[in-house]
């Protein structure tokens, strides 16, 4: 279990002090795939670097399985870091070593015998699907392959926790998919705790069980991914969940009421629901913003509808929409 307690971090820069983290408290249970998401500058990278003390927190504690990371000696910290390994956006492979030796690197640091290290590294490279690239150098590999080597390297010392710092942000969508499913697969097989730092909601959606939304150094919202997705409460969460249908970007007329329709796998693709509502209730809705996508015949995403008229019409329209299966509605109050 990882307990983050009242964590703050301030940086002294030439332009004054910057508060990167302003009192973060968070608990990550063993075996979670925990997403930490936020816009750039929200403090995600600082937060993840505090977990393994690459950044020393200004105040607050990081407690991993009862051990206060801030109180470890340098030597103890180095040993503990073998249990909390990390993969990075830029892969950070050693460019002058081949794949096998890259994966051997953490084992060398730990003083593992060479023959054993080679055996373990070979095994891991096979697991990540690069069994035929043992003697290739990083420069000869694609980005996705390099990240696979980095994952194999991170697993070499049998860690309990894997930190992924924007691990897929430098990869194309297809490669991102394959790396995410590899991380998921490894999590399921080894039962390790994974912390995923990202700015992409799709990454969280795909592999995380829980998510914390970080906004300007604070946690805006924490919860199960499905809950946060279905009904984001904080502004920061809404901005992330509805990147194109965010309410403040919608202009609302004076005599208009607006509400959001969230499609959470609704079977609506072959139903003209807005037209149907106009016929059934005689209420004409104006689509102010929409961001939906269909997977099979199910719709995901959200839409902001404007209704001219009074409270009465709005209520009726919301009830009408909300009664459909897998659709969730909420009024947007300006």
């Amino acid at each position: 279990m990882i307990e983050i307690q009242n964590l703050t971090k301030t940086f002294q820069t030439s332009g004054g002090t910057v508060e990167a983290l302003k009192g973060i408290s968070l608990t990550v249970e063993d075996g979670d795939i925990f997403g930490i998401i936020g816009m750039s500058g929200a403090g995600k990278s600082t937060l993840v670097r505090c977990i393994n003390m690459l950044e020393r927190p200004t105040s607050g504690n990081i407690i991993i399985d009862g051990k206060d990371m801030g109180k470890l000696s340098n030597k103890e910290l180095r040993e503990e870091r073998r249990n909390i390994t990390m993969i990075f956006q830029g892969f950070n492979l050693l460019m002058q070593r081949n794949c096998l030796k890259n994966v051997c690197f953490p084992l060398e640091l730990a003083g593992v015998k060479k023959s054993e290290a080679v055996k373990r590294a070979t095994e891991l490279l096979n697991i990540v699907g690069l069994g035929d690239k043992l003697s290739s150098y990083p420069a000869q590999l694609s980005g996705g392959q390099q990240q696979r080597v980095a994952i194999a390297r991170a697993l070499a010392t049998h860690p309990k926790i894997l930190l992924c710092d924007e691990a897929t942000s430098a990869l194309d969508p297809q490669t991102t998919q394959s790396i995410l499913s590899l991380i998921r697969e490894i999590h399921d097989k080894l039962g390790i705790t994974v912390i995923v730092i990202t700015h992409q909601m799709s990454v969280v959606e795909q592999i995380c069980t829980k998510v914390a939304i970080l906004d300007k150094g604070n946690i805006a919202e924490v919860g199960q991914v499905s809950d946060v997705f279905a009904a984001p409460k904080s502004d920061a969460a809404k901005r992330l969940v509805y990147p194109e249908g965010y309410e403040s970007s919608v202009s609302i007329q004076e005599d208009e009421k607006v509400f959001r329709v969230v499609f959470n796998g609704a079977m609506t693709t072959n139903k003209p629901m807005i037209a149907q509502m106009a016929i059934d209730l005689n209420i004409a809705a104006n689509i102010k913003a929409a961001s939906t996508q269909c997977i099979g015949d199910k719709a995901f995403g959200n839409m902001i509808l404007g209704i001219s008229g009074g409270e009465e019409e709005l209520k009726k329209a919301m009830e009408y929409m909300g009664n459909m299966p897998n659709i969730h509605v909420e009024e947007i109050v300006k």
Binding site: N52, L54, L77, R78, E79, E80, R81, R82, T85, M86, F88, G90, N92, L94, M95, Q96, R97, N98, F105, P106, E108, L109, A110, Y137, P138, A139, Q140, R153, T157, L163
Partner: protein, 235 residues
């Protein structure tokens, strides 16, 4: 006048000198250069590493004052012209070698002049390294020594080789200059025959050999640097 250089008897003496004195002079230049470079690296490499690893206490916790003093010493030694430095270190040379003239004696001032240069070159090579790689090594539990020995130096190896080639060719030039103040080798021949005895042809021969040596060292260095660099694909 130019025709005088090629008068048959001058050419004959020059050729004689070429045969009798050049082999040993070339050997002296080569060994002084290589020996001085080796010692300069032995002193300069750790200093360059200290400067980079100690910066802001990122890898090694070295007091700021120590680093400043180190930087000042390096800058001081780098600003003294080589010939003057050579005279200044005469006492040290005498202490170490027992004499201030001759080929072995010239190694001492060469090393004193070159190690600060090597330290700066090492510093610039190590600075080229992506800082994220160091962070990666730290995140995997590297000790400061492991970061230096397993990451910083091996990852900068191609750049270090190129830069040490620059040091080597520079030291070769200095070693020729040391011929004025008792150093041996091709520089001594060029100065003794070309400057003191007006036998320009001999001087030209010496210069030609110096050029050939620089070319050889440079080509070898470039070859090794590209050969070791695994970032160059399909090699």
């Amino acid at each position: 006048m130019i025709a005088d250089y090629f008068a048959s008897d001058t050419v004959q003496t020059a050729l004689d000198i070429l045969k009798t004195q050049f082999p040993i002079a070339i050997w002296e230049t080569v060994y002084v250069t290589i020996l001085s470079t080796a010692f300069s690296i032995i002193i300069g490499l750790p200093l360059g590493v200290l400067i980079v690893a100690g910066e802001d206490g990122k890898i090694l916790k070295i007091p700021k004052a120590v680093l400043s003093v180190l930087n000042v010493i390096i800058n001081l030694l780098r600003s003294v012209p080589f010939l003057i430095l050579m005279i200044m270190v005469f006492p040290l040379t005498r202490l170490i070698v027992g004499t201030v003239v001759g080929t072995p004696a010239s190694v001492v001032p060469l090393v004193i002049a070159a190690f600060p240069f090597v330290a700066r070159l090492v510093e610039s090579s190590l600075r080229e390294l992506n800082p994220n790689i160091i962070e990666m090594a730290q995140s995997m539990g590297s000790s400061p020594f492991q970061i230096i020995a397993k990451v910083m130096i091996p990852e900068s190896m191609p750049s270090l080789i190129s830069n040490m080639t620059i040091a080597l060719t520079t030291i070769l030039g200095y070693s020729a200059m040391s011929g004025i103040l008792g150093g041996g080798g091709l520089g001594k021949i060029a100065i003794n025959y070309g400057y003191y005895r007006y036998q320009y042809l001999v001087m030209i021969f010496a210069v030609v050999f110096l050029i050939v040596l620089v070319q050889l060292f440079q080509s070898l260095g470039t070859y090794l640097a590209t050969r070791t660099d695994k970032r160059l694909k399909n090699r």
